[in-house]
Assembly symmetry: C2
Homo-oligomer: 509 residues x 2
């Protein structure tokens, strides 16, 4: 392993092989790993743990991270059957299945809270932290790779630390991170971020080198999916949002210069790409969670001045491009702990414009972003709650329908509420946008049906609204048929009456 | 009117009678009033407006306040049929009825957001602000009475200001208010509160005296209900909370010194009174919204050092007691704008322990605090969302049952979600307390049924949970019968099967 990766000489004695290193994780451990989105997570130790379980060793542990990781961690460990608890978020198919079967315990947390919970001891001892690193500096402190997540707190609280020293990123990445662990109540000072680009901490994670029990050398790269160019639906949703914000700024109701947050996925990416074609927006700041490929284009064209997040989730092509001109990007990009990137205090102060994706939205603006049919976990709430509740303006987006219109994503009542009408400001589908901020519930329902619902569902939804309104109430609902759309789909494979009965129960996945 | 109430001499020319003053409110006006809870709201101008409507004058306007007011405002104006829009919160029976009938438009807002919305122009022009005042100082600035709410922003943004100069409070109240209007994004500094007692603003509301079009003299007192001593249920809920917090502090998972917020109502009051009998807690701080009579006892005994809120909602007896020894209370009590008392930034920084009341809670910890039967507005979300989402620890409390056990307040699925499982930490009824923070949904459901539900409903809820769990999913629900409890009550007047059929649909109110 090159010496410049371990600049603190005493730690060179800790170089080990993955199998030996992984021995520090024992049955019943609390295991805390680096990683936020499928970047920056350890890949070698998980493989060893799975191997041990496959060999018949009794090995079960609790697994905590920054957010989701990749299949090399969540997938491998879920399939190995070694995970008791998983928090705070995941996005791997094998993990999801076992959580839905009740085999893996999961609690769906706001991401901004996990580090504080760990520091308070609320998740138990941090027996072992396994973290991917770019390098260890001269003082024995740790420099992370493409994500920060909860790693600073995990490293601080850990009894033992295992490091996967990765050579997938060049050492020039050093300096991109801004590590700041806030104090905990009741004696806590403000988090001193006043602009999205502000740096308030150190470019490394403070680490007591005596806690490091092993360092393994890794050549594993991160693998993130490359987003295809936005389809028509994503493009139209993005266009509605940009038009609307432009209109609000011109009307004087929204100041220029508010930073943007854009969740993960097609539409979020399309919104960012939409800036490229738009002359009104320039010199933007991003105060977000996960930064994706589109950010590189925006930085290149000067559309975005600064981008702040907790992870750089670039495709392989994006990674190469980023690394090639790192010197240019580094001064414009900052990677923070998730409790800072998602801090309610900072989000409210900066006045973030937040764009997040819904699984379904109801006619009153309640949003389901986590569960299908009220019960099956998709991925989790992630950071959306941190942003939706505290943003200056919160957009919830979804295609109006799915499965060739057999599913309407606008429904009478969502089957699981993650974001309530009180916090959702604007609803957007490819058909249109409704600003809920000055609409009473009956008006909101009328507008969402007329402007956002798929045309094939408007009569059905209108009929529901009219009958519910006759029955009365501030927010008319007929509890006896609020989930009729969902139940019809589960029985026939189509939310519309007269859909062809399916052989069995249908699932969206 | 005594000269010391209007110390800025030019404004003495504006003294008027209520009928003349009220002429500034015309058909189509946006009317913004002082008041937060039934204290500090104007009483004379509303009566005049109602009188004009009763005389056949065409008069309809939009009505905005800090939160609820009293019957002298919301009741009178709702009955007069003059209100088009009402925001952000109300608690008057006549107003509630008309909102539920769709006659008055209402949107249920987080209270911390209204002032910023007004400043951005999102609610339209502030045509007229009608505010109750204690005095106008030498510079022409305004000193409010027993509440602050959104008055500082209303006064700043108003075209015309009408003042009801009240002599119900002594001039010695001056100095209790701490008025600070935060900047608006994107250029906003931190709100510099580090302790519940910190004073960061001025003891008056800055006002341009040229905007004052009329001053009327008022002798109207505020009338707040006196809470009866807590019943057994409230007492037991409070005891569970205090036991739990004590236990968490002793276990080292919760620091000493976190400030408390306690919502409005019996249980909230009982929690505060519980401190009186408890030796563990002393020298507490309250960082709350509405301060009620119990606070006086706590201050007298030194149990509470400092109390911060946006309103002093004392009973008549409490008002007398407070005013009599004002010199003693004034240094321990601070009244703030609601965007500061409810600031997510400050709540998160201080690490508030929040206690709020639910209408119903489901087995997974989702909370309904606003709508009956999914559709009928009770009062609104008020400040609960500001606190629940940002507290260090968020308690949701409810009696386990209502209407002689004909209603279970623990249900399979709440009929309206205001606070989701992601933000609710602890559920409490008189039967027990469940800490949800480390429970997966199926475990949470089991624990809530066993420890919080009324015994008469445990078998019914268990049966539901078991059948739903067999059907699968991370958070098992059977959409076809998720509201069976509610529907049964609406049909028979009892949530249990076999309840006696009622003549018509039942309502809880």
């Amino acid at each position: 392993m090159p010496q410049e990766r371990i600049r603190y000489a005493p730690l060179r004695d800790k170089i080990s092989d993955p199998a030996t290193a992984a021995r520090h994780v024992v049955d019943g451990s609390n295991l805390f790993v680096s990683g936020f989105s499928p970047v920056g997570y350890p890949k070698l130790i998980p493989a060893e743990l799975a191997k041990r379980a496959a060999s018949g060793e009794r090995l079960r542990f609790n697994l905590y991270s920054g957010a989701s990781t990749g299949d090399g961690l969540d997938g491998v460990l879920a399939e190995a059957g070694v995970v008791i608890w998983r928090r705070p978020y995941m996005a791997a198919k094998a993990m999801r299945q076992r959580i839905n079967q009740g085999e893996i315990l999961f609690k769906d947390d706001h991401l901004s809270f996990t580090s504080a919970q760990v520091r308070s001891g609320g998740l138990g001892r941090v027996d072992v932290a396994v973290v991917e690193a770019l390098a260890i500096n001269e003082k024995g402190h740790l420099i992370p790779t493409m994500s920060v997540g909860n790693t600073p707190t995990f490293v601080r609280q850990a009894d033992k630390i295992i490091i996967e020293m990765s050579d997938a990123c060049p050492l020039d990445l050093e300096g991109i991170h801004d590590i700041y662990i806030p104090e905990d109540p009741p004696y806590r000072m403000p988090i001193p971020i006043y602009r999205a680009s502000d740096r308030i901490g150190k470019p490394y994670i403070e680490m007591d080198p005596h806690k490091v029990v092993a360092i393994v050398y890794s050549q594993e790269r991160d693998h993130c999916p490359l987003f295809p160019p936005p389809d028509r639906v994503a493009h139209d949703i993005a266009a509605h949002i940009l038009d609307f914000v432009q209109h609000e700024i011109k009307a004087g109701r929204l100041p220029r210069g508010l930073p943007w947050q854009s969740g993960v996925g097609d539409v979020a990416n399309a919104v960012l790409l939409g800036f490229l074609e738009n002359d009104f927006f320039h010199g933007l700041d991003l105060y977000s969670e996960v930064l994706q490929d589109a950010v590189l284009d925006l930085l290149d064209l000067g559309k975005v001045r600064h981008a702040s997040g907790s992870a750089l989730t670039f495709s392989t092509k994006g990674q190469d491009r980023f690394i090639k001109e790192l010197y240019r990007y580094k001064e414009k990009v900052v990677l923070r702990p998730v409790e800072i990137s998602n801090s309610p205090e900072v989000i409210r102060r900066l006045g973030v414009l937040a764009v997040n994706t819904a699984l379904e939205i109801d006619i009153y603006g309640h949003v389901n972003s986590t569960h299908l049919w009220g019960r099956e976990l998709m991925n989790g709430i992630g950071g959306s709650g941190d942003f939706v509740r505290n943003a200056a303006l919160s957009f919830m987006v979804t295609p109006a329908s799915g499965k060739q219109e057999r599913i309407s994503r606008i429904v009478p009542m969502v089957s699981h509420v993650d974001h309530s009408e009180h916090s959702v400001d604007v609803v957007v589908t490819e058909h249109g946008l409704v600003d809920l901020r000055n609409l009473a519930p009956r008006q909101a329902a009328r507008a969402i049906i007329d402007h956002c619902a798929a045309p094939a569902y408007r009569d059905l939804l209108s009929d529901y609204l009219e009958r519910a309104s006759r029955a009365g109430g501030h927010e008319p609902q007929l509890l006896e048929e609020a989930f009729a759309f969902h139940l019809r789909y589960m029985q026939t494979g189509d939310m519309r009456p007269g859909g062809v009965p399916a052989a069995g129960r249908q699932r969206v996945d």
